[in-house]
Symmetry: C2
Subunit: 158 residues, 2 copies
DNA sequence: GTTGAAAAGTGCTGCGA
DNA sequence: TCGCAGCACTTTTCAAC
């Protein structure tokens, strides 16, 4: 009885189907999913618990429309650092700017790449000129403004 | 009785506090939120209904960890189109590539900017060389591979 | 517009196959 | 391991303030 749990660490097709449904609508009742997949509600629950224990499920977010909430502008920022070693410090400072919603350490021409969301062009200018430029270690930035978000989705597991 | 609804189209502080909580965890019970804000569960429900009717709430997503689901690589793609007029057509074709999770029409050097998620370097190479290059109208692309996602969050409404 | 409680539906747990 | 049934909880509704 040494082996405690040889638990199914595989993700099978059923898991993927459950996840796919909940990735589109996290509040979808388990019972409804169960009906569609022709299994019991309990099974959905067991699978979800397994996936949660495995750490695949990170949580659930309510998705709001940034435009309707007054945030009209999405922009991407290619950031050049003075020295690559300043990366960690820059992350810390940038994380304090709430308009920075994504930050990646990337290969290619830029040192870092950020996605920012602003209310309007004035707000964007303020964030770029005051907030971002004040971050130590940033040499210069290149801005790409998103005029239209044509696709926005999560990866399909299928 | 001509004016049907002069409904509160403003978002007040209470709305924002409710949204902020649910944006972090969409499954958080209304009753718990109500307790924290010292209001009744019914009020939370009424406010959420108002926000949903206003279209601010787009839905809820279950967030999975792409790494643990076997998707290890995030990359950004600067896309140059042969002609700007090919945009609409390119969007349609790119939307069929499930690895493309975001697509923006942008100002700046690139015509379009995409975010893609892949299983591994082989998968990335396949998507870039076979899928993306097959899209008509794309002249060339520039790839930025994300080595680390340092920040990932939604905009704060506060 | 908010409250508090009642009704309906959902999520969770243990037992049986 | 999966499915079923009972219990606890949440959501939703509604009358009253």
């Amino acid at each position: 009885m040494l082996k405690k749990e040889t638990q199914n660490l595989e993700i099978d097709n059923l898991d993927i189907q459950i996840l796919t449904q909940l990735m589109q609508d996290a509040t979808k009742p388990y019972t409804e999913i169960a009906k569609e997949l022709i299994i019991s509600g309990g099974t959905v629950h067991v699978r979800m618990k397994k996936l949660a224990d495995m750490g695949i499920i990170k949580g659930s977010h309510l998705i709001i429309d940034p435009k309707k909430a007054g945030y009209d502008i999405t922009a991407f920022l290619g950031i050049y650092l003075e020295k690559g070693s300043l990366y960690k410090d820059a992350v810390e400072q940038l994380s304090k700017i709430k308009e920075v919603v994504e930050l990646h350490y990337t290969t290619g021409s830029y040192s870092m790449f950020a996605k920012i969301t602003c209310r309007d062009t004035d707000h964007l200018r303020h964030v770029l000129n005051e907030e971002i430029q004040a971050v130590k270690g940033i040499q210069r930035t290149e801005t790409l403004i998103s005029l239209e978000e044509s696709i926005k989705r999560q990866i399909e597991l299928l």
